[in-house]
Amino acid sequence: MRRFELLEPESFAAASAALLEHPEAKAIAGGTALLILIKHGVYVPELLVNLRKIRGMADITWDAASGLRVGALASLNDIERSPLVREHLPMLAEACHVVANIRIRNLATIGGNVSHGDYQSDPPTALVALGAVVELSTATGTRELLLADFLLGPYETALEPGELVSAVRVPPPGAGWRSAYLKFTTRSSEDRPAVGVATLLRLDGETVREARLVVGAVTVTPSRMTDVESYLGGRSLDAGTLAEVGRMVSAGIQPIDDIRGSAAYKRRLAGVQAERALELCSTMGAAR
């Protein structure tokens, strides 16, 4: 590793100011993703702004009207273990739980996770399905953006100079929604996902009232399958419906070829896993 400068501001405003002043600087929190790139020598930092000394940015709160708010510095482990998350958004707890291993989850922060813009990750898929919003803040103000609009491509986000993700918010899912996140790995269980499927269902007996289906880790940003969502409306999740969903997902997605599977394989996998996620969701996903 080459030498670089490290700033350790103790306030959000100072961190944002530092980033604005040094366009080449990069923020670091848990470091689980960035350090790999640095150690490999493909990213050579000149200045890193360590956010870990900033207090009060790891809170997880719930409000019946506005939903969940997770401070950007909350670790994936904090989220996974939060009683609030488990009660109101169990799918998010699951999507954080299946990331790598406890050592990684204990360091990785949710702000870093979404800011890194890596497509091979679990939490963004669940968060996009949940309609999550990111709070983007500078020293002087805050704007909000749907996570789906924030994620632009590999390592690319809508962050403006000086901006940091200060929190991730998830609106209250509303009554009667069930949810499930299903990860599939092609190697070790600690591997990054070859495909991740997040789904939400509002059922009326056997009939789907509303559905949301997002396929992650196969495209540069999580893919919401809106055609599948509308197809599901008013149908029951019988074998025929599920098979059609699988077909639609496979046909509708353009996966990236990578070391975790060929595009053709992932296309097929996405369909199968979408079926299974829906099944899991309808049978296990706790209704609220």
Binding site: G41, V42, V44, G153, Y155, I259
Partner: protein, 148 residues
């Protein structure tokens, strides 16, 4: 990694040929490729900068014309190094032209190797980036030769 494809340029073959045979013009269709200049009869220098998010690579390229068959085919060998990230890029590039009903069909075949640290880590991203470059290359080629 092999990149190949073809697209039609709405221009006659001799015009397309003169454009691609002018290596700086050909290079200017590649996004991120700048300051292409001739060194001698068959070699050219160019600078290639690419960025995936905050990851950047900058290669000083040496391009060698390996074969030409006017107005059908040109083959180039390109190589360059980014010492900062200790990575190399190597490419064997073939561009073929043939007449098409609405202009000229340009076919390309590029065998590109990204070696060193970038190659070791960025495999899917490099592939992805290459696809973007391909699309932009076609767009610029068409735009550069359209109408005039």
């Amino acid at each position: 990694m092999i990149l190949e494809g073809q697209f039609t340029i709405p221009a006659p073959q001799d015009r397309v040929w003169s454009a691609i045979w002018d290596i700086p013009t050909l290079a200017s269709w590649v996004p991120g490729c700048t300051s292409a200049a001739q060194v001698d009869a068959t070699t050219y220098r160019a600078h290639l900068e690419q960025q995936v998010g905050f990851l950047k690579a900058a290669f000083d390229l040496l391009l060698t014309v390996v074969e030409t068959q006017e107005p059908l085919l040109i083959r180039l060998h390109g190589e360059g190094e980014d010492r900062k990230i200790r990575s190399n890029i190597q490419a064997e590039i073939t561009v073929k032209l043939e007449p098409a009903p609405d202009g000229t069909l340009l076919g390309y075949h590029i065998d590109v190797s990204v070696l060193g640290r970038l190659g070791a880590l960025g495999f899917p991203l490099i592939q992805r980036k290459a696809k973007e470059i391909e699309a932009e290359f076609a767009r610029r080629a068409r735009a550069g030769l359209a109408g005039g």
